[in-house]
């Protein structure tokens, strides 16, 4: 990526595809989000969890495909939102194939030790999108500022 491709307010982080780096990504994204004056701390926490999910999935995707390439995380700070894109070069991912979670009271719920990650990403962000790219998968997550959430009638 050329310097000219960077947008104002954008932070780009590249990490080795190893799980030890997930906590670093969380720290960087949370610290970047705190630059935004109108971002509630609860929303930064939510973003921290969502980014952790996406980054862990990306690292796993590289591991499954056996590629050593780095994972790229782009964080764009705008006036009324923070958008994070986690890009991997794994095998791809079909969000429609994620099974629906059984009801909490169902005994089958306990069979779901995994599979909560996509659910968390969707529930903890204002927008989330998983899309196939030429060489892998992009996961885009957005949280809105307090003002935008108020304007939208959210909590």
């Amino acid at each position: 990526m050329a310097i000219a491709d960077f947008r104002p307010g954008e932070i780009v982080l590249e990490i080795p595809a190893r799980t030890e780096y997930v906590s670093l990504v969380r720290v960087v994204i949370a610290a970047a989000a705190e630059i935004e004056p109108d971002m509630a701390s609860e929303r930064i926490e939510d973003l921290r969890v969502a980014v952790s999910e996406a980054t862990t999935n990306a690292i796993e995707a590289h591991g499954l495909k056996g590629v050593d390439d780095r994972i790229r995380i782009q964080c764009n700070l705008a006036d009324d939102e923070i958008a994070v894109v986690v890009h991997d070069q794994g095998m791809g991912f079909e969000p429609d194939e994620v099974p629906e979670l059984p009801e909490p009271d169902s005994p089958e719920r306990l069979l779901h030790e995994s599979g909560l990650g996509v659910h968390l990403m969707q529930m903890l962000t204002d927008e989330s999108e998983i899309s196939a790219t030429d060489d892998g998968t992009d996961v885009r997550m957005v949280v809105y500022s307090s003002k935008r959430r108020r304007d939208n009638g959210d909590r």
Partner: protein, 108 residues
């Protein structure tokens, strides 16, 4: 009682899984997991906690959670797992409600 601290994610989660398996193997099927010192949990950590509950229940045991931190509790709630787990805000409360006070020691 297992006291857990730090980050329950893909890095920290396996240590907890191992600790729970060790307790269960030693015959301690009624456990309290104290997550007071946990400052981050994601789906990997949730998976480990869910797996721990399954392991104890398979042996007619039980698992209680101490989760005072709102931000950790929120992750459970978003996944509706607060309806699955017996969650408490203090260790005393979790122990007091344990049947016959059968809480195991160790790993403090």
């Amino acid at each position: 009682m297992l006291t857990v601290a730090g980050e329950l994610d893909v890095v920290g989660g396996p240590d907890l899984r191992q600790a729970v398996m060790t307790e269960v193997r030693e015959g301690n099927h009624r456990l309290v997991l104290d997550l007071t010192g946990v400052d981050f949990i994601d789906s990997f950590g949730l998976g480990v906690v869910v797996g721990s509950l399954k392991r104890t229940r398979l042996l007619d045991g039980d698992l209680r959670l101490v989760v005072p931190e709102a931000r950790v509790r929120r992750v459970f709630e978003v996944c509706d797992l607060d309806r699955v787990f017996d969650m408490h805000t203090t260790v005393d409360e979790a122990v007091a409600t344990a049947v016959s006070g059968q809480v195991v020691g160790g790993h403090q």
